[in-house]
């Protein structure tokens, strides 16, 4: 007599749980129906939700200004008025002697500085990467020091070093008998640009050296051993083994150094203000002068666009030229 009761109980319980499960399923289904989201759509939404803060900042403070800059470049835009003038800003640019001079200066800086950055940082890294880890990090820090110090502090001290009367450079060169009379380094259009390139170099090799040391450390030692067994000398090992393996790093360094050199600004603004006689004026400095000192926003915007196009073209060429040698 006991059994059927028990059976009933169990049955009851079963249906009960079944019902609750069914209810849950139903409610989930209906919720899904209300939002009408497939699994894929839900995944999309979650992905976008994570991106919202970054996209908001990026859109407002990078993307929108890019479009606005492009738009402004077609206007005669000053503090007072704004009139559409089509391509006139661009036409005026290429008849502007000071702009052309600045463009040549900028190109000179890039073409001199970038190869020197590569050669110097590679040479240093080849010497440093074999050292013990303590001295390795000391040297890494030493070459990164000018970057950390910041452009203002670096510029202020270099201005003193270059000072025609109390500067160390003139003193040392005179003591060594290399020059007879003090040179007004930053006031002489023959030297000013070179002086700026030297400071640029000291502030630009820090990151490349860190990168080269890291990639040199990643090279499989068996390659080098194998080359040694085959009787290769150290130059051959460098040229045939290390250099090709470093190619991706070199490409990256070439691109970032080019972008940085194209944008050289603070050194020039703080040291020479583009002078003497525009011999150290660069495109970026001119953009600043036109926009923030003279209020010619449209004209400055057009300059910015030209500079961006130059950098873009350079980067593409570099990828084409170096990319061929890159083997991952």
């Amino acid at each position: 007599m006991n059994k059927p009761v028990l059976k009933e109980k169990i049955l009851n319980e079963n249906t009960n749980t079944d019902r609750t499960v069914l209810k849950e399923v139903k409610s989930k289904k209906s919720r899904k129906k209300i939002l009408s989201l497939s699994k894929k759509q839900k995944e999309d939404l979650i992905g976008y939700a994570f991106l919202v803060p970054a996209v908001l900042f990026f859109g407002t403070f990078v993307f929108y200004p890019i479009l606005k800059g492009l738009y402004n470049s077609f206007f005669n835009m000053t503090w007072k008025d704004t009139t559409f003038i089509g391509l006139d800003n661009y036409i005026a640019l290429f008849n502007d002697e000071i702009f052309l001079k600045s463009l040549v200066n900028t190109a000179t800086i890039v073409l001199v500085a970038v190869p020197l950055i590569i050669i110097f940082s590679l040479a240093v890294s080849l010497l440093v990467y074999k050292l013990k880890s303590v001295s390795r990090s000391v040297f890494r820090a030493v070459f990164y020091l000018p970057v950390v110090t910041g452009s203002v502090a670096v510029t202020v001290v270099w201005r003193w070093i270059y000072d025609p009367y109390s500067g160390v450079l003139n003193y040392i060169l005179k003591t060594l008998g290399i020059i007879d009379d003090n040179i007004i380094w930053l006031g002489d259009s023959d030297y000013a640009l070179m002086c700026i390139i030297i400071i640029l170099l000291t502030t630009s090799v820090g990151q490349p050296i860190i990168l080269y040391i890291a990639s040199l450390g990643n090279i499989d030692k068996s390659y080098i051993e194998a080359a040694k067994v085959d009787g290769a000398n150290s130059w051959q090992i460098f040229r045939k083994v290390k250099w090709p393996l470093l190619m991706p790093t070199t490409l990256y360094i070439v691109v970032i150094s080019t972008i940085n050199s194209f944008q050289i600004f603070s050194l020039i603004q703080l040291l020479t203000s583009g002078g003497p006689n525009y011999s150290t004026s660069t495109v970026m400095y001119l953009v600043y002068e036109k926009a923030f000192k003279l209020g010619q926003f449209g004209y400055a915007a057009a300059m910015g666009v030209v500079l961006a196009i130059c950098i873009g073209t350079f980067s593409i060429i570099q990828f084409k030229v170096f990319g061929k040698e890159v083997s991952y």
Binding site: A54, P65, L127, S151, A308
Partner: protein, 274 residues
């Protein structure tokens, strides 16, 4: 043969030492210059070490609102650092581990914008900030700096290494998306966040151009801007300028030395895979 390689080794270490001295010298010159009396700093024969150390430069320096400049620099750098770490770790994780439509396009736009010279957009940026009424505030130096996508790129690289099984296991255990991010993702990408944080702190402290175009009033300036302003005022009174330069670079050098390892990792992670 052996003596020849030894000689070469000695020569190369010597060359390295000379170059290292040239790199450290400007820094040495800043610190020692800050304690030299004015009469010495204008001599043609340099005094290699301050023989009569003085605080007169520092007294002159602190006649400016120096502490406010320092405070402003700290506010800008720390706020930028926090905001960049939050936005970049969220976005980097999504770009690395989530599947959603338009992912490649969004990432592509970020990368393309990274190659674009950020200074080119400063002119329109100033106009926008002006329109919205927060020109000449510290906020104008913070928010735009958060927009630059370098951090997203870096955090994506870091997040790629997260084990997919772990994330899926957490999901099966009923962990919410935010729970997964806070409890599992963040602890694992912590080295990346640390690297990004320090990198951002240093770059925003030294972001002279952005500060120059955004901040106008003397009380709103940052430490680097303040030194630049003093350069116009004092021109060749190098002692005072060196004291200012010392104050502008010491905080950042301390940060760098303390976190050098994280920092190096961050720089290499962004460029060298693996």
């Amino acid at each position: 043969m052996k003596t020849k390689t030894k000689l070469r080794k000695i020569l190369s270490v010597l060359a390295l030492a000379v170059v290292a001295i040239i790199f450290v010298f400007p820094f040495y010159w800043i610190i020692t210059g800050a304690f030299k009396i004015q009469e010495v700093t204008i001599l043609e024969t340099p005094q290699w070490f301050p023989l009569e150390p003085t605080f007169e430069n520092w007294i002159k320096l602190f006649k400016n609102p120096t502490l406010i400049w320092l405070r402003n620099s700290f506010i800008i750098s720390i706020s930028t650092m926090i905001l960049v770490c939050i936005t970049a770790s969220l976005a980097g994780y999504a770009l690395a581990k989530k599947n959603f439509r338009g992912k490649e396009i969004i990432f592509g736009i970020f990368v393309a914008a990274m190659a674009l010279p950020k200074q080119v957009i400063l002119v329109p940026l100033v106009q926008i900030v002006n329109q919205w009424g927060f020109h000449n505030t510290l906020l104008a130096c913070i928010l735009p700096a958060v927009g630059f996508p370098f951090g997203i790129f870096l955090m994506k690289q870091f997040s790629e290494t997260l084990p997919r099984e772990l994330l899926e296991a957490a999901k099966i255990d009923g962990c919410s998306e935010i729970g997964i991010f806070i409890k599992i993702v963040l602890p694992l990408v912590k080295p990346g966040v640390a690297a990004l944080g320090i990198f951002t702190f240093i770059t925003s402290w030294n972001d002279y151009f952005l500060q120059l175009v955004m901040l106008v009033e003397k009380e709103k300036l940052t430490m680097p801007l303040g030194v630049a302003l003093m350069q116009q005022e004092f021109t060749t009174n190098y002692g005072v300028l060196m004291a200012g330069a010392t104050l502008a670079c010491i905080p950042i050098i301390i940060v760098f030395v303390l976190f050098q390892k994280n920092f190096t990792q961050g720089i290499t992670m962004g460029a060298v895979k693996g």
